[in-house]
Subunit: 347 residues, 2 copies
């Protein structure tokens, strides 16, 4: 696990520019908030857990050079930065979770000098990184218990090393199962419109020597019909208290197909993806993105007539009743989700 998706280096946020993959592995250094906002918006860095880290490091990037000495004025600036970063993408819970962590770190230490608070915020951001590395490994540990040798696992989007610091959630389960000697195959949905499955998941799985086959999203049903898929594992962008899960558009499709074909359907995510404030999926805001992602972004030339109407939601919500289990860093949650999520979150 040699790559780091995002880290603090040379007084900047260093990320892999994921829009360049699989063609080349290129790092960029982000030195101001606006560039970070753009990098998140354009998915140079993406994946719910990685966005939690970006939030933490982003707040530090924003406050580190502030000249204010007075806490009230510091807080004002901090809130402005938090609000700005929060405006970037609406769905992934971890972004807001990371920002809230930074806010709390400041508030809890408001009697200390601003220079100390800055150091505390930096430490807190580093802690998010360490927690992510640990959480992914725990998700891998618990999730691998569900995997048998010779399982053929279908996944969507990228919930791997590239969506976290260096290991992954859904793919963390796959890496751990492999480390345990299980001989598994993976099928990766290409994940239109932005092709994270084709570009990122196949890239990192192939790099680690995992047997991976790329399919178009529409082919998953035929594979299941032919008995070629034994499990589905997806990541999550936000999980409500009843277990309803927002994730990359197409995840709900796979959940319905899994139900129909009686295939276990798992969500893998750290606790930071759970939203304590919402009871069900209907309250999760769904980002709608530019129609060009569908009609033009990756293509040699436009693939649809000019001016065509497009529906381009980035996420969908899978109702809890279609989810066989949620694999978290604190263990596996099974239905009844409402009870068991509260238990594991200790609320």
């Amino acid at each position: 696990m040699d790559l780091k998706t995002i880290e603090w280096k040379a007084n900047a946020i260093k990320i892999i520019d994921q829009t360049k993959l699989p063609r080349k592995l290129e790092y960029i250094y982000i030195r101001d908030l606006k560039s970070l906002w753009q990098a998140i918006k354009e998915l140079k860095v993406r994946g719910a857990p990685a966005l939690g880290v970006a939030a933490g490091l982003g707040v530090y990037l924003g406050i580190k050079d502030l000249r204010v000495k007075d806490f009230a004025r510091f807080l004002q600036q901090l809130e402005r930065i938090i609000k700005y970063l929060a405006s970037c993408r609406p769905t992934a819970r971890n972004l807001f979770w990371g920002l809230e962590k930074m806010r709390q770190a400041a508030l809890k230490n408001k009697n200390k000098p601003v220079s100390s608070i800055k150091r505390i915020i930096f430490t807190e951001a580093q802690k998010i990184i360490e927690e992510d590395r640990s959480a992914c490994r725990h998700i891998g540990y618990y999730g691998a218990k569900l995997i048998k040798g010779k399982d053929a696992i279908l996944t969507i989007c990228n919930a791997g090393a590239l969506a976290t610091i260096d290991y992954g959630t859904a793919l963390g389960v796959i890496y751990r199962a492999r480390e345990e000697g299980k001989n598994i195959k993976v099928f990766a949905c290409e994940t239109r419109p932005l092709l994270q499955g084709a570009r990122l998941t196949t890239w990192e799985l192939k790099r680690k020597g995992v047997d991976v086959t790329l399919i178009c999203d529409s082919m998953a049903a035929a594979l299941m019909q032919q008995g070629k898929i034994s499990k589905v594992i997806a990541g999550a962008d936000r999980i409500a208290l009843n277990g309803d899960t927002a994730n990359k558009i197409g995840t709900y499709n796979l959940a319905v197909l899994s139900k129909y074909h009686q295939i276990p359907f798992y969500i893998a995510a750290p606790l930071s993806t759970f939203d304590f404030s919402i009871e069900s999926g209907k309250d999760i805001p769904i980002e709608e993105r530019d129609k060009k992602e569908v009609t033009g972004l990756f293509f040699k030339r436009p693939i649809a007539p000019a001016g065509i109407k497009v529906f381009n939601p980035a996420f969908d919500v899978t109702p809890h009743r279609l989810i066989s289990a949620i694999i978290t860093d604190k263990g596996i949650i099974r239905p009844h989700y409402k009870l068991n999520i509260k238990k594991i979150l200790d609320i």
Copy 2:
């Protein structure tokens, strides 16, 4: 209905080069069998009913300049031509149906001079064209009875004017419903990997003033979940005697989703798409196509790592139990399909 997808003109087969759409409407003239074979293989002309016409015109193209006078030698050449054209694409029934029609026309007239048989074959090919135009209009007529004003109809691939001579099967139903004053909306699945939905269906619907919205294939489930789809209509490449239907990859996915969301799922196809010789879908050969269609064909640059494994079936099979009705040119077939298909085919 001003376009003609395929016709005989200036002593050649004139087709719309569909690989150029939606960018430009370009016609090409095909003057030899090898060019026809290539054009079908590369989907310059595609769609099961249009392939039936291509088969008819293709046989005439192959035999028209033969110098043989003797029927036995003529038949030998004819069989060679039929075998060659049949080798092009394995799934669409209409191709084989069209070739068989030509063979029968020759055999039935074997006592006539070869020059007469050539004329008969030409007339027979023209008859396929007229039959297609008529069949599509009948499919439209019967199918439109199933459509209500304000229906929102989801379709996949292109089963429109561009898949037939000039009207369409699934889209024929939509055109007819519109002609009857029904105010309907259409959602078009882009249909990866070859994007016939994005490139062709949106193009022809927009051109005819139909309200159409393009989605990625993975978004259909979310639309259904939100109650935004009231019906699904797809075309067919081959229908077995029990109603099992092969169509563009992703059709089976939509059928499962329709079942789950209790949305009627219809197949629209002429009788020439039914295969009298097979009892169920398991006997339908499924074409697997080049992996480059998934990883590279339409893209500025490859979207997956070099050497990645790809699964690229062009079709899937929807079991009859997921099909609410099959709309044909002879009326609507409902379950019990095995009985009702035999009745309508009169076998």
